[in-house]
């Protein structure tokens, strides 16, 4: 083949050594930095502040729950002044505190609230952070909530309902919160959960049967083949329906998504721009 001292190599090296222009360098480097850019200051602090706020709220609610007196059927005069609204009704925390302090001590079902509280605290800590604005402006929410702990920042309990049914409410919230927590924890999925890389499989396989003049799609695991080929089929269908603009955009997006994927000739004829 070609040896290091080869005349051809020497003459090739002597050719003008073209380089890209500086402006192009700058544009590419800037794009590379934007792609992995650091988030803004507010975004960086949003998560820690949100988590801290959730913990403070959970602690506050726990304290209130421990002071509550569930299981007492008598309703106190203070509650009658409050409108019997659905759980979403808002009440000042001060009113609730007075109601709690005046209620008789709890009779039973202490383990259930504690267990529910523990599971809800776990769920709360895993919940996605509420927007900063809501956390700062709202007082500690009331106990009765319908769904995920994140909704605690938006709803207040009905005091009457709170006094009457704390234990069942917290027990009901625990199962409701627990499924929501895994869902919430799963929500910020890593961006880089990559598909099995077409490029990596390309490197590992070579098609021995290919002729010298033909290019074929490299062999891949069946799971990795499915997605790009499905997308190409979709583009081919769009193209056949005469929606060329849409097909062109889809093809450009496909190329961005799978830059190393080799489109077979037959498929290219079906998807290529007209």
């Amino acid at each position: 083949m070609i040896e290091p001292g080869d005349n051809l190599v020497k003459h090739y090296r002597d050719l003008a050594r073209e380089e890209p222009p500086a402006a192009l360098d700058s544009a590419i480097l800037a794009a590379s930095r934007r792609a992995v850019g650091r988030p803004s200051l507010s975004r960086r602090w949003a998560m820690p502040v949100s988590i801290a706020a959730v913990l403070v709220l959970a602690f506050g609610v726990t304290l209130q729950m421990q002071r509550e007196e569930p299981g007492v059927a008598t309703s106190t005069p203070q509650y009658k002044s409050v409108a019997p609204a659905p759980p979403a009704a808002k009440e000042p925390a001060l009113t609730l505190d007075r109601a709690i302090s005046s209620a008789p001590p709890p009779v039973e079902s202490a383990p259930a609230p504690n267990k529910a509280l523990a599971s809800r605290k776990r769920a709360t800590s895993e919940a996605p952070p509420a927007p900063l604005g809501k956390i700062e402006s709202e007082a500690p929410p009331e106990a009765k909530r319908s769904d995920a702990p994140a909704e605690a920042f938006e709803k207040r309990a009905e005091p009457k309902a709170f006094a009457d049914s704390v234990a069942p409410a917290t027990a009901a919230r625990a199962p409701a919160a627990a499924p929501a927590a895994p869902a919430a924890a799963a929500a910020p999925a890593p961006q880089s959960s990559a598909n099995p890389s077409d490029e990596s499989r390309t490197f590992g396989t070579r098609d021995k049967r290919e002729s010298a003049n033909a290019l074929q799609a490299p062999a891949r695991a069946p799971a990795a083949l499915a997605e790009p080929e499905r997308e190409l089929e979709r583009i081919a269908r769009i193209r056949s329906e005469g929606r060329h603009d849409e097909a062109d955009k889809a093809l450009a997006e496909f190329r961005r998504k799978y830059p190393e994927y080799r489109i077979p000739e037959a498929m290219w004829e079906r998807v290529k721009p007209r």
């Binding site: 050719l15 003008a16 880089s192 490197f203 003049n213 000739e265």
Partner: protein, 183 residues
């Protein structure tokens, strides 16, 4: 010990922008010349060059160091060039056809003026012969001499067999030697 290209790319995929700067500085020249000598004009080359790097940036999270970084990068470049050639009516089968006419040799205004006449003429003949090679042969030659890829890596980057890559490189080398009188 300096980090390898593969380590730098993984670091960049993990968010280290400085690693990309190092990779870019090392590979920008060879990749640019590879693209420049594969198309007809510098404007086209600059546009394709930027697109190739953009695709590499977007694909950073899918990069796995199963093969060399350069092979991965030039695979992206190859695909982009194939799309470019297809858009101009070239089918993949024709990439190995006999010489295709090209508008002008790549070495010209950029050649160093102080070189003696003979050396300049040799360089010009070489540039013209390189530009006249069939696309697949020229690509194999450039992948080897600019990208530093060996036969196996050329085959992987172009999704061709090793025998095809070897013969394309051999044909290209022979024609270029003939052009500069180095038979």
């Amino acid at each position: 010990m300096p980090a390898s290209d593969e380590q730098l790319m993984l670091a960049y995929a993990g968010g280290d922008a400085g690693s990309f700067d190092t990779l870019y500085a090392k590979h920008k020249g060879p990749l640019f010349r590879f693209v420049l000598r594969s198309v007809k004009s510098r404007a086209e080359a600059e546009e394709l060059f930027q697109e190739i790097w953009m695709r590499a940036i977007e694909a950073r999270t899918r990069y796995t160091p199963q093969a060399k970084f350069s092979t991965w990068l030039y695979t992206i470049a190859h695909h982009r060039l194939v799309d470019h050639w297809r858009a101009r009516g070239l089918t993949l089968v024709s990439l190995d056809d006999e010489e295709r006419p090209v508008s002008e040799p790549q070495a010209g205004p950029d050649a160093e003026p102080h070189r003696n006449l003979e050396a300049r003429q040799t360089a010009e003949r070489l540039a013209a012969a390189l530009a006249a090679l069939p696309l697949a042969q020229r690509e194999a030659f450039l992948l080897h001499h600019e990208g530093g890829l060996d036969i196996g890596e050329i085959a992987a980057a172009t999704a061709s067999g090793e025998e095809a890559a070897k013969s394309r490189l051999r044909y290209a080398t022979n024609k270029l030697r003939e052009a500069i009188g180095d038979d």
